[in-house]
Symmetry: C2
Subunit: 284 residues, 2 copies
């Protein structure tokens, strides 16, 4: 790996944040104060840590945040009513629902309730459809963060072979659509793929979003390829690792995102960007 | 190619039709008469020929059809009102809008108008989203026809390398979702893909939906692979051909759908199946 092969998220997030601060200042001059509402059920560790990161990023960008905390046993009606109030609240520009929701709630019904205009993380069916149709929309923040990193570091995707490991609704599938829209040739692999190493080895760009601690080692990597590690996994001692065995492959790859400090650092900036964009649209 | 390698559409359509006839008879006994409405703007050759094929298939299955013909200069309001009337008409179970619509009409607005419950060809954003989410829905008829052929002829897709040539909203993209839901490993290629032959050659199953007359020749085909030809193209003399150069590859492939007589023959049976399913749901 060349010295400059480390695709750190911080410069990407910093550059975005700088732009967003300017936009917020413009809005503030017009007496407009962009605000994100986050709806959390219970106290899942993941949600709390993302909430903290998102609140910090919004604060840096001058975006207000409102946290709505619901009891882990909250009813479907309670959730829906909360969401409807936020839909109707003109002081709220963007809404983020922490997912996955508890099994007792009907995620589909809730997705249909969130106002597509305020849906900053592609939860509503309308926004999922727009993404597939290649129309303007807010894609989920994580896959858009991947695109932002590739763009920031001038990694061209047009015509390139991109292999995605993982087919989730939050990352793999929407990322495949974003990459197709940018003319990449996209292969989606998953747990049922046969001889997955042989496929991933042929990639110009490999994106792993399997959620499997250090699964991706030498066998999976083509010489000089770009590797984007979306995985967030913890070992028994609570240390954070990606899907990629970084030490094993660092001398083979051309460019690679670290974990922590890679894709995860960009996601909240994308969220903030969506809040500002929807705020600007709502006030235009 | 073995003798039995020709994946003809007719047996698939016949088998489906037989099932559908039985279902219609059951419904008729309960005084329910399933009906498909088709909305056509102007007199495009493609639309007229599909209308004829769909009417014939429905008639075979005992499904009533109603053709709504709009002038090629019809206004947006006129189209929307027509659609709303069909949405409200309880005698109509399924609605098919011939696409592409003339450029003067706003296809997106119209897609949002069709009742998702009566949308038998995955036109509405809600149904596109369901498809991506892997939920029960009516996928577009052509990609579901491809799945039906693979299933009928026992071509296993689980874990297999499937390469799709073409990324349209009507075939390539939805087919990728259907195949992923069945655990295939899916690669989507398109006009911007570099060295497309090298990728398609590695496929266990190759699906071409590029709409390029006889483009797919020997160079594209792996020995013994299965080839599904979705293309419908015409030469200067008006003869119909697929995307595949059949003569060039017939000795290399394991199984192949002919054109005509392949995928195209199954599509209308899928349409009829969707009409019956939605009718049964509406009457349950």
């Amino acid at each position: 790996m060349e010295n400059n092969g480390l695709l750190k998220g911080k410069p990407v997030a910093d550059s975005l944040t700088e732009e967003l601060i300017k936009k917020t200042q413009e809005l503030n001059k017009r007496n407009i104060f962009p605000k994100l509402a986050m709806v959390r059920v219970g106290n899942r560790e993941d949600d709390l840590s993302y909430q903290k990161a998102a609140s910090n990023r919004c604060s840096k960008c001058g975006i207000l945040t409102e946290i709505v905390e619901l009891d882990e046993n909250c009813s479907q009606d309670e959730y829906i009513n909360t969401l409807k109030n936020l839909n109707d609240d003109i002081s709220v520009n963007g809404i983020l629902c922490f997912r996955p929701l508890p099994k007792s709630l009907d995620e589909k019904k809730i997705a249909e309730t969130i106002s597509p205009e305020k849906d900053v993380d592609c939860f509503s069916p309308e926004n999922i459809a727009r993404l597939v149709m290649g129309e303007k929309c807010f894609p989920p923040c994580t896959p858009e963060g991947v695109m932002e990193i590739l763009n920031y570091y001038d990694v061209d995707v047009q015509g390139k072979k991109v292999v995605i490991l993982g087919r989730s609704l939050l990352v793999g599938k929407p990322l495949s659509m974003l990459l197709l829209n940018k003319n990449a040739t996209v292969t989606i692999c998953h747990s049922k793929t046969e001889a997955i190493e042989n496929i991933s080895k042929g990639a110009d760009i490999l994106v792993s979003c399997m959620g499997k601690l250090k699964m991706v080692d030498k066998k999976y990597i083509g010489e000089g390829s770009t590797v984007i590690d979306v995985g967030i996994n913890f070992d028994n001692d609570g240390n954070m690792f990606g899907d990629v065995n970084f030490e094993d492959i660092r001398d083979i790859v051309g460019k690679i995102t670290p974990v922590p400090g890679g894709v995860g650092s960009v996601t909240t900036s994308i969220l903030a960007k969506h809040v500002l964009e929807t705020c600007i649209k709502q006030n235009s």
